[in-house]
Symmetry: C2
Subunit: 212 residues, 2 copies
């Protein structure tokens, strides 16, 4: 398809697509004349992913390029590529290494992973970005004096495990491995606002049930 059709089918303005091409977030089309290039379904898919990262995830262009590099890294096997691509999505600040509160938060996170028997997470530990994100979140709550020990965290972790099953079921509906990796990244980002809004709606429902 031509640029105009790519724009129409994706809902992304042509000027934005040209910007993504210049920023190497989108591979160039197949050149068919001095002024025209031809784009394929893979461009459409990639454009949707870029849009999800930048528009919904609010991810800076340079960080989005890192995520896409991980998506395209075919030196990894499928499982590792899936993990690496999702982990390349930026998250909050890393925990403050020298802080005793961080040390305590790390012990809480480790005890939680042990209790859940999340062996993969325990094996990788602080190498894994979501582990560091969790430690930082626990340290912040501890520092502010809000409850965040293993007993408090367990029910959240159990719900997260259910969410992950739902997430991976969705990812597995895509047939090709390349599509699965793209979908894992897009759905991780896109379902975050869905999940947070549903939690606030459910809180209102539960609060109405208890106090209403």
């Amino acid at each position: 398809m031509r640029l105009a059709e790519l724009s129409e089918r994706s809902g992304v303005p042509t000027a934005t697509i040209k910007y993504y091409l210049r920023e190497r977030l989108l591979a160039p089309g197949r050149r068919i004349s001095a002024t025209h290039a031809e784009y394929g379904e893979e461009h459409l898919r990639r454009l949707r992913l870029v849009r999800a990262l930048i528009q919904v995830g609010g991810i800076p262009v340079a960080a989005a390029r890192d995520v896409l590099a991980a998506v395209d890294d075919d030196s990894l096997d499928h499982h590792m590529r899936l993990g690496a691509a999702v982990w390349a999505i930026p998250h909050g600040p890393d925990p403050d290494e020298d802080d005793p509160v961080t040390e305590a938060a790390r012990r809480t996170a480790d005890a939680l992973l042990e209790q859940l028997d999340w062996g993969f997470g325990r094996e990788l530990g602080a190498q894994s970005p979501p582990y560091r994100m969790l430690v930082a979140a626990i340290a912040t709550m501890d520092g502010l004096g809000y409850p965040c020990d293993v007993a408090h965290l367990l029910p959240y972790a159990r719900s997260a495990a259910e969410l992950a099953v739902t997430d991976l079921d969705l990812v597995e509906r895509y047939e090709q491995e390349e599509e699965q990796v793209e979908a894992a990244v897009a759905l991780t980002v896109l379902y975050e606002p869905v999940l947070l809004s549903l939690r606030r709606l459910a809180q209102a429902e539960e609060s109405h049930r208890r106090f209403g």
Copy 2:
């Protein structure tokens, strides 16, 4: 307690506390001399909440002031005050009203609430900020061509309902109604990064189980 003790117990620097006082995010202490004021436990609690909103939630000062006004609004009964305070927490952009994609997303959201039998949410509809947040999130996914119909959303909503039970159990551990409202706001904000990091950790675990 004096300002120095308030700073030490809260972990918030005195300069920051003075800034919060100037910005009316914190009520003035009881003046005991020309240069000194005395602060109570309610200041310590409020300071933790302000810190949660601004530091973790990344909420601008003016918006934090709106949330605190809702927390302090004793014209509402407990249930309504709890809901109003949590709903005053800023969220993503509202859906684009005139867009046919938004119209379709609203129908999806309504069908979801009906299937869940969330009567409170159905009654309030678009008056409720998390409903508008959900509609915007669905519209974005639809617009990008990612799956987001009722069948896809239901398992996320079911997990959200479990999370809300956990959230409200935590809130109910606080004895006074005032403390419950403050805790509801703080825990809504503070558990978001906890939840999102646990989801990414659980995804890695589930992915390892399926593809590893």
